[in-house]
Amino acid sequence: MTDNAANNGKLVQVRGLVKHFPIEGGDDVWRAVDGVSFEILRGETLGLVGESGCGKSTTGRCLLRLIEPTHGDIEFEGRDVTAMGKRELRELRREMQIIFQDPNASLNPRMKIGDIIAEPLVIHGIGDKTERRERVAWLLGKVGLDADYMKRYSHEFSGGQLQRIGVARALALNPKLIVADEPVSALDVSVQAQVVNLLQDLQAEFGLTYLFISHGLAVVEHISTRVAVMYLGRIVEIADAQELYVNPLHPYTLALLSAIPIPDPKQKRDRIILKGDVPTSRNPPSGCRFRTRCPIAIDDCRSIDPELREVAPGHSVACIRVPGYDNAPSVESRTPVGVA
C-alpha cells in the first residue's frame, strides 16, 4: 500500500510548521505547533494522534490555512500554500476540505440539508440550481442517505447521519485531500464503525487522501496507512501504521499504546502508567518535551532537544534514547524560531 502511494508522489509537504497563539496581556505565547515537518502521499491516510493540546487540530487547520501559520512552509502539489493570496486560496480549497468533530455544531441548524451540501457549489459558482440539486442527491446517495433528506433540517438527524452529511459537504467539490478532524470521536461505537467504513469506501472510490486526526489510537491504526504521533507541538514518531503498532520506539508512543483499554479481559498487560500531567505548551520543558513524564529519561534529555531522525526505512523518531538514533539521518528542517 505504501509503495503504491510513494509512486504516486507527495500531495502535501509540510516543513517546519509553527503556530504560536499570543496570550492576552503579555508577550507570552502558546506554542501549539512548534516545528512540525511531514508529508502526505497521494491516496494514503496519514493518521495524526496525540492527546488534547498536542497541536494536532491546529496542524490540520494550518494546512487549509483556516488559521494562519506563524512560520514554515506548506506545499500542496508543489504550490506554496503559505504564500497564496485570497483568490488562490479559494481555488485551493476546492481541492482540500475538512470534516469536523461535532457535526451538530458544524452544520447550520437554520439551513436545509440540501442547501448545506450545495453551499460549496454555490460559493464556487458550479452548476445551475437543477444541476446542483442533482449533485446533492447523488452525494447523499454516496454517503448512504436518502435523497429526500435534502429538504430536512439538521435537528431531525442522529449524530451518525449528521456526520454523513458533513462528509457529503466535504465531497461536494470533488477534493483531493480531506482533513478529518476527530470525525468519529463524538459517535457511539456502532455508529463510529459505520462512518469509518464509509470513509474507507469513499477513499477507494474517489482516490481521496486523508489527514485523519484523532486521539483514538485504535481507530487511527485501523484506518491509516502511516501514523504520526504528536506531543506538545512536536511530532515524536512517524511510521507505517503496522510498524508503529508492532515496533513502537518512542517512550511516549509506548505509553500511549499501553494506556489504551483493550476490550479483552484475558489480555492483562504490563501497563506503563505515566506520572503526572501534560505540561502546558506555554512553558514546555527544556530539551526533550516529554522528559518530565518519561520513564527512561537521562540527564542529557534536559539539554538536547531531539529532532526527528529516520532510524529505519520509513520509521522516524525523536528520542536520543532510541538505539541507532545518534547515527540516523535527520528528516526534518526545524527552523529555529526566535519568538520569545
Binding site: S190, V191, A218, L256, L257, P261, P263, P265
Partner: protein, 346 residues
C-alpha cells in the same frame, strides 16, 4: 444472603411533548462489597438515568414510577428527603463525567471537600480542612496541603477528577457510582484514574458501579457487566464470559464494531463490522424486542411479545429469544446462528 445494593424492576419515565419516554424500563441488578459492576451501553440507553435514579437525583419531568432500590435491605425510594440527604455521600456517593461542571468555580477544592465532611461528620472548619488534605493525599494528588487552596480552574482535568473522587470518598461511602469518569480525559490520564479506582475498591472494599460506553474500560476493571439497550438490561454476565462468549446479538455487534489493536488486525486491514441502522427513537420503540429491526438473527416471533430475561448459566442472563429453552430445541434457529459464528473475527 442480601446484597449491598440491589435494584429491582426500576422504572424511570419522562413525560415529554413527543410522548412518554421509558428511559429506565424494568432494570434489575445487584452489587456486592468490593465488587465493580460495569454498566455499558450507547448514548440514550438509560445508563446515566439508572445511576441518577439510585441517588434519587432525577430531575423533572423524570419520575421514578416503580421499582425498589435496596441498600443494605432498606428501600431508598421509601426514605424521606432528609433521610435520603444523609444517605447521599455517607453511604452512596457519585462522580460525574465532567468534573468542571460538578465543581463550584468560586470555592477552593479544599473548601468543597470539607463541605461534605462538615455536613455529614459535623467536623469543625479546621478539622475538616485537615481531613480534606488527607482525602486528597489518598487519591494521589501531589502536595495536598498546598492544593487545598487551589480553585478548580487551576487544576488539570485529571486532577479535577481526582478531587471529585476525594470528595465522593471523604465520608467513606460503601458504594461509589462513577458515571463515565474517564470519558473526558486523555488515555494516559484515563489509565491513572482507572488504576486509582481499582486500588480504592480493593483497599476500602468499596462497591463500584462504573457507567461507561467504552468496552475497553469495562474489560480492564469490571468483575461483572450489565449491557443496556433502550432502557433495558439485555445481558448480564461475568466480564470474562461476556467478552469470550457474548450472548445477546447487540452485545455481539458492539464487540465486533470496536477496532481492535492487535497485530493481526493491523496486518489484515479488515473492514469494521457494524450494527446496521440506528438506535430507535425513545418515543417510537418497535414492539417486542427493541433490537429486532437491527438484529441479524431476527425472527417473526421477536416482534410479538416483550422478551423476558433468560438465565443461561449461573450469573449469566440474556434478554433474547435465541436463549428461550423452548426455542433452543429448534435446530433451525441454532444453525442460523451457528453460521454467523463461523465468520466471527477473533
Amino acid at each position: 444472603m442480601s446484597h449491598l445494593l440491589e435494584i429491582k424492576k426500576l422504572h424511570t419515565y419522562f413525560q415529554t411533548r413527543e410522548g412518554l419516554v421509558c428511559a429506565v424500563d424494568g432494570v434489575s441488578f445487584y452489587l456486592d462489597r468490593g465488587e465493580l459492576l460495569g454498566l455499558v451501553g450507547e448514548s440514550g440507553c438509560g445508563k446515566s438515568i439508572t445511576a441518577l435514579s439510585i441517588m434519587r437525583l432525577v430531575a423533572p419531568p423524570g419520575k421514578i414510577v416503580a421499582g425498589e432500590i435496596l441498600f443494605e435491605a432498606r428501600d431508598l425510594l421509601k426514605l424521606s428527603n432528609a433521610e435520603m440527604r444523609s444517605m447521599r455521600g455517607n453511604d452512596v456517593a457519585m462522580i460525574f463525567q465532567d468534573p468542571m461542571t460538578s465543581l463550584n468555580p468560586v470555592f477552593t477544592v479544599g473548601e468543597q471537600i470539607a463541605e461534605a465532611l462538615r455536613l455529614h461528620r459535623k467536623l469543625s472548619r479546621k478539622e475538616a480542612r485537615a481531613a480534606a488534605a488527607d482525602a486528597m493525599r489518598e487519591v494521589s494528588i501531589p502536595d495536598p496541603e498546598l492544593r487545598v487552596n487551589d480553585y478548580p480552574h487551576q487544576l488539570s482535568g485529571g486532577m479535577r477528577q481526582r478531587v471529585m473522587i476525594a470528595m465522593a470518598l471523604a465520608c467513606d461511602p460503601k458504594v461509589l457510582i462513577a458515571d463515565e469518569p474517564t470519558t473526558a480525559l486523555d488515555v494516559t490520564i484515563q489509565a491513572q484514574i482507572l488504576e486509582l479506582l481499582d486500588n480504592l475498591r480493593r483497599t476500602r472494599d468499596l462497591a463500584v458501579l462504573l457507567i461507561t460506553h467504552d468496552l475497553g474500560v469495562v474489560a480492564e476493571v469490571a468483575d461483572r457487566v450489565a449491557v443496556m439497550y433502550t432502557g433495558k438490561v439485555v445481558e448480564e454476565s461475568p466480564v470474562d464470559e461476556l467478552f469470550a462468549r457474548p450472548k445477546h446479538p447487540y452485545t455481539e455487534g458492539l464487540l465486533r464494531s470496536v477496532p481492535k489493536l492487535t497485530a493481526k488486525d493491523v496486518a489484515r486491514k479488515t473492514r469494521l463490522q457494524t450494527i446496521e441502522g440506528t438506535v430507535p427513537r425513545p418515543t417510537a420503540l418497535p414492539p417486542g424486542c427493541h433490537f429486532e429491526p437491527r438484529c441479524p438473527y431476527r425472527m417473526p416471533q421477536c416482534r410479538e411479545d416483550e422478551i423476558p430475561l433468560y438465565q443461561v448459566t449461573e450469573g449469566v442472563t440474556v434478554r433474547c429469544l435465541l436463549f428461550d429453552p423452548a426455542l433452543v430445541a429448534n435446530t433451525e434457529i441454532v444453525n442460523h446462528r451457528g453460521h454467523r459464528e463461523d465468520t466471527k473475527i477473533n
